[in-house]
């Protein structure tokens, strides 16, 4: 466990240093949300309807930014070999990387989402749902994303492939995430938050093993 904590701490330190991807994802998230009213107009009622969905889609896209370097950086500079030879094991590497990616990208997005929701005139009743759905949903995005990142490890421009691979897999998370927010905008109970929680739980539990399998196949040939 100590080795996993070491890897996590190292990744957090790298990400927060200059050139880390932490700030980059936040800036992209804010940019997409701010850009939207220019596209669909500033009518408050319309914005209120789409706010949850826009924030969720922007959050997912922002998450993808930091993903392609998640493993590739260590793969290219020889660290992945060293990690593979450490007592950590591939499952441990995968788990540490998923948590690191969530702490670097997923959590900050969740924290600043309410601020951006103000821009989109999200009704006050929906803020708790927005925070809760992002809090539950972003780990699943990090988990699925890290599996895809491990798969595209040995591809030079693998990052371009990630959105395509992840689109169908992330659809349920976005559907239930945005659905949960919309439920509170309309003050109706549609159970979206529970489905989101179920999907997140399954995804988070399975993805370290899938990611480890992907790392193994990319390293051992």
């Amino acid at each position: 466990m100590r080795a996993a904590a070491a890897l996590l701490a190292r990744d957090l330190r790298i990400a927060t240093r200059a050139g880390g991807s932490a700030v980059l994802a936040l800036a992209f998230f804010a940019a997409v949300v701010t850009l939207l009213p220019f596209g669909i107009g500033s009518d408050p009622k319309l914005l209120a309807r789409v706010a949850g969905g826009v924030i969720w889609v922007a959050a997912v896209l922002a998450n993808l930014l930091g993903l392609d370097r998640l493993f590739q950086a260590d793969y290219e500079d020889g660290n992945l070999d060293l990690l593979a030879l450490s007592p950590l094991g591939f499952e441990g590497i995968a788990a540490a990387k998923i948590v690191a990616h969530w702490l670097i990208t997923g959590l900050p997005l969740t924290v600043i989402a309410p601020l951006l929701a103000l821009l989109l005139n999200l009704p006050p009743s929906a803020y708790p749902a927005l925070l809760l759905s992002l809090l539950i949903g972003t780990p699943a995005v990090s988990a699925l994303g890290s599996a895809a990142a491990a798969l595209t490890l040995s591809i030079r421009r693998g990052g371009l492939l990630l959105p395509l691979l992840l689109l169908p897999l992330l659809a349920p998370v976005v559907i239930f995430g945005a659905g949960a927010v919309l439920a509170q905008v309309d003050r109706v109970e549609n159970g979206a938050i529970w489905f989101l929680a179920a999907i997140s739980a399954v995804t988070i539990l399975l993805s370290p093993f899938v990611t480890a399998a992907a790392l193994r196949l990319n390293l051992s040939d």
Binding site: R13, I14, D77, L82, A84, L85, L219
Partner: protein, 187 residues
């Protein structure tokens, strides 16, 4: 196997305690692949490899000190932070870090982010990491690359000390090491 064709076949060797084996051969003859096989990073198409009785590939990795072409220095982190990380990762002795940095001549640049270090300095940092983790089986892939004369002698001292302690080393290199070692020629 690479691209469906065997890189080398029927290669057998046995290395005892305190011995070193130099792997020679033209580029592409599979020197790196052999080292990765022994380290357990690669799965052999046929044949078996065991180190002091451990046959399982990933378990064997825990006793391997690896020095590959890349020396794994993170640009944003300083040498001290790198060594701290590796100490935590493979259970090395933290308190020995200052003396290690001194040994490899990085004490002045200890807190400088690695992006400012020269290739030789990064290589010596990797040597410090190798000694820090103290693994019994060293696998060195072209270790003398990017090392100046002083760096070479440092490597040889570490190697002699490592072998004297009864550990084993496999070295893929073209240059003469000045050590009496077994030789394995890959065609």
């Amino acid at each position: 196997m690479r691209g469906g064709r065997p890189v080398f076949r029927d290669v057998n060797f046995r290395v005892g305690r305190g011995e070193a084996l130099v792997v020679e051969g033209p580029n592409g003859s599979g020197k790196t692949s052999l080292l990765r096989l022994v380290a357990g990073l690669l799965a052999p198409a046929a044949g078996a490899i065991s180190f002091s009785g451990i046959a399982d590939r990933e378990e064997r990795g825990n006793s391997v000190g690896w020095l590959g072409h890349h020396d794994g220095a993170k640009p944003q982190l300083s040498p001290r932070e790198m060594l701290l990380f590796f100490a935590q990762l493979c259970g090395g002795a933290r308190e020995s870090i200052p003396s290690l940095l001194q040994l490899v001549g990085l004490s002045r640049a200890a807190d400088l982010p690695c992006q400012y270090l020269s290739a030789g300095q990064k290589r010596r940092l990797a040597l410090a990491r190798l000694k820090l983790c103290g693994r019994p089986l060293w696998l060195l892939d072209e270790p003398l690359a990017a090392l100046d004369a002083q760096g070479k002698s440092l490597l040889l001292d570490l190697l002699r000390e490592h072998l004297a302690a009864g550990s084993i080393a496999l070295i893929a290199t073209h240059e003469l090491l000045g050590l009496q070692t077994q030789r394995l020629q890959l065609t």
